[in-house]
Symmetry: C2
Subunit: 635 residues, 2 copies
Amino acid sequence: MHKELPWIHPVLICISLVAIAFALFHFESVKRAVVGRPIRSRELNQPHHKLVWWLALPVLAADLYSSVAYGPEAGMTELAPLGRTAQWLILPITASTVVLLTILITSYIMGVTAYPSGGGAYSITKDNFRSRWISLVAASALLVDYVLTVAVSVSSAIQNLASSFPALMGHQTLLSVACVFLILLVNLRGVSESARVFAYPTFVFMACMLLLIGAGVADDIHRGAVQSVTPPFGTLPSGLTAMLVLKAFSSACSSLTGIETISNGVPIFRDGQRGAIKAYIGLGTVTGVTLLGFAAQLYVKGIRVNPHNTMLSQLAGLYFGHGPLYHLIIVFTFIVLILAANSTFTGFPQLAALVAGDRFLPRALSLRGDRLGYSNGMIVLAAVSGLLIEVFQAQTNALIPLYAIGVFVAFTVAQVGLCRRWVRLRPRAWRIKAGINAVGGVVTALVAVIFAVTKFTAGAWIVLIVLPLLIWFALRIRAHYDQVAEELRIDASAVRPEQHRVLSVVLLSGVHRLAVNAVSFAKSTSTDVIALYIGFDDESIARFEQKWAAWGAPCRLIAVKSEYRSLLYPLSKFIRRLENYEGGKPDHIQIILTQFIPKKWWHNLLHNQTSLLLRTWLLRHKDVVVTTLPYHLQR
Amino acid sequence: MHKELPWIHPVLICISLVAIAFALFHFESVKRAVVGRPIRSRELNQPHHKLVWWLALPVLAADLYSSVAYGPEAGMTELAPLGRTAQWLILPITASTVVLLTILITSYIMGVTAYPSGGGAYSITKDNFRSRWISLVAASALLVDYVLTVAVSVSSAIQNLASSFPALMGHQTLLSVACVFLILLVNLRGVSESARVFAYPTFVFMACMLLLIGAGVADDIHRGAVQSVTPPFGTLPSGLTAMLVLKAFSSACSSLTGIETISNGVPIFRDGQRGAIKAYIGLGTVTGVTLLGFAAQLYVKGIRVNPHNTMLSQLAGLYFGHGPLYHLIIVFTFIVLILAANSTFTGFPQLAALVAGDRFLPRALSLRGDRLGYSNGMIVLAAVSGLLIEVFQAQTNALIPLYAIGVFVAFTVAQVGLCRRWVRLRPRAWRIKAGINAVGGVVTALVAVIFAVTKFTAGAWIVLIVLPLLIWFALRIRAHYDQVAEELRIDASAVRPEQHRVLSVVLLSGVHRLAVNAVSFAKSTSTDVIALYIGFDDESIARFEQKWAAWGAPCRLIAVKSEYRSLLYPLSKFIRRLENYEGGKPDHIQIILTQFIPKKWWHNLLHNQTSLLLRTWLLRHKDVVVTTLPYHLQR
């Protein structure tokens, strides 16, 4: 397609440039059309519709449960080079994953009991460590992983869809990026993450997965658990190394991302903490059963890695043919993976706003947009994850090595934080609680190390570079904000407004309506007014001086010749001279510029943007006050 | 390559974005490094180094003479589908081209006698027709053709180079675009088109071409003019249509572009008009001989179209092997084609400046840059031709159909203009002169029509749409400028500056150093000062009011609550209310904003750009004066 339509790319670029120019000029209307009318702040505090636990479960489950669609496959992909005899290893690997899941869920239940109002790793570590950088480790690890969640979920969603609609093959990158921006738009308009409607697709997807496993088990009973296609169990394939098994394990662990969602969502449960704990147990059970059942089926049916057909799609095709049931499974897998990405569009901006509120990230991330969401955070998330998808060409398996390492780092610091909390506060049964979190911390730390080592060359190094960089930046940002606050502080009782001496300079380009307006304004606000004319040659200066005299020379005129045809240099030199104007520097030098405001957007091209450039340059380089008098063209 | 390095594209995008951000902040220094120090206007008028005609000839010849590298090949390409028996047709076609060349050169010599100070088609038509749109036809046709000259010459240069260095194959588009931007940079720094140094490569290239033809003729004498590979002469191939012959003819005519260069360059000849006429005759002879000789060799040696090896390269390889002589020819073909594109970087901006001076194009095109060249025109030329190369993937033969049509349109109107001139002024031998230009006009009009018809579907339709659009835009631009001039005109004796009533509104975000500064400035320039605080909730308003009182309430304070967390809406509403402030609208409402100016470029990310956005919005939508007080952060 790219070869046949070589012009599509530049034409798209041109269209986008014009569209951007148009949108900038009509920014308000375009924004209203895309984002919708603004919402009042007070609507923020209206109560959530609280949900009963089994309805809240699927609402918050998309992120974790959807990962079963790519986790086991990611593990199998690592084993693929060893051939069929290695396929049985997926069973012990998945079993270890489920053990890890149990440990994590237990530790998260501890977290929920400690922070019933909802506490992510950042809040927990901030609360339990005095050093700022530990909570920043948690924050940056989670932020990185949110970005990867979007990239992985959307890529995987599109890959699943392409498995059943081969026409989409080869366009995954474009489709995935388009998907991300669609999700962004929906979120900029604003969706409540706790919308009950999100429960149903996840329910249907869970039912589909269980049905798939059920159909497999029924088939196993009918035809035996060892079938003709089943690879032999227990034989050690040649070339098997501990490293490879650990690699496969870490890939399979990508199914464990998203566990934190419920702990952040405690407020939406009708029975609060208790509901969240029930939901954790329920979700853990369903996920564990699904993972084990799915892995067992992959093994028994001898499903192999095929880049053009996901394992989920192969298995569904095997049991249900390519009829309506197959397409139902594919479509709901797609929907649930998109929901997982969508939930990240709440998680990332909220966390970024929290961190920005502590002045570790640009303040803009902590401001709510028109629709009450943290729009800037959403835009950053979409941009970075879109770029990642583009870089990795929407290849889920290429993204997996970067993934999950962040989650496990965040898990670890959160567990250690909880542990410190139990030791410090010593509540009932604190030893048991601290013990659980200690075990959890050690295991997750171990997994994080396994990740970093086994996936180092495959991409984990990127994360290991990005994390310290993010922390370093965060600390520098905080230092900058602290300095600015220090600089701006005044003693209100000691500092009073003073009478300042203001010298006004009116920059003129001719004797016309704009000049009348500008000189009138200057003389009305200041007693010291100088008109400045910068000409490019002697004739134009003589002509201007003559017109000025004919006009009656309403104020002092200084005409300067610019040999370099630039306004900046002579203006800059002039300002320097003014600093010793008639006995000492004035408190303010006010430069008065006039600017055309055209009625039609393309008319901007016809008026040179001198005053815009001058203003930007003056404000940045000189300590002057810049006053702009707009002139609105009538046609 | 693209497949193996999928990340190269987005990574390049990222790097460019950071580079752009950096360059914008350090605009002055980056510009100095790239473009060089500015040059004084008076250096413009220093006398050219005048050249003797045979040295001026090659300096001005690159554009026309370089086209022999692609003209005959373009003709052959059209005949290729008919097979070998059609190859002899290149001889009569090239002969007709040379006849046309003779007519054109004769008419151009007429032009030089009429306008010795140098007159392009635009000046001639402007001088001889009262209707504006006729000269605009000439101008837009030439502008379009200048753009195409760059695209075609650069694409052809790279194609030639790739013929001898196959490693470059597949990267032509990238290389061509890079070449265009390199030429742009060189021209932004400024090169004198009349630099004597440009004479030598063209001389060498001419010598190479004549040597090539000489070697061919020697070979013909040695082995006979009909060799084993020579296709039969005179047989009419099946499938031959008049349309196809005309198509091949119009493609071959692309070798005739660039004739106008000498007539624009009359001032650089030591003996003026006479020198230019000599140069025209000399150049016409060399070009005619080369075209005929080259076409004859292509026929005799049975050279066929090969997209991976230009005909020039095939022929050179045939006679000289792939030794140093071959590479010399290839390299000098490359250099001369690049020189042709380079000369366009003088022609296009000069013409655009001329047209912009008549207010038919944006004024910015008529301003000289730091290095005295019309930099804006150069940038537009590079951008548009770069885009064309990208769209047509640097395929010379795909660009040819768009090419030359503009030149022939411009030729036609110029000839008709000259004809009118002779009839009007009736100089000596005016009947002969008018006759020559009339014949020239009819022939070029005919060729233009042949072009438009035969190449219509191959791309000429684009030009036929673009030309009227450009003319329409030019007329609308002129109408706009006329309206603005009308609007701004004042009767200097009747209009005097008046005392205006200015109401100043200081927008505050807190009681800190910026507020002290802003309130002091406002109170020093205006007697009517209102402090405005916009809070997002009741608490922040109460807190501000308390601090304000503690500070001693130096002026009247109005605190507004913004339920939509926006500054624009409440400010806009407030301005509307002020229009009836205490007995009638003030003459000016002055909004005073403060703005942080950070020391490091990335610190801009940390301060929200509220005052920038507000200023842009206010200036565009409200009739207010906006004053910006910068606060330069110390660290």
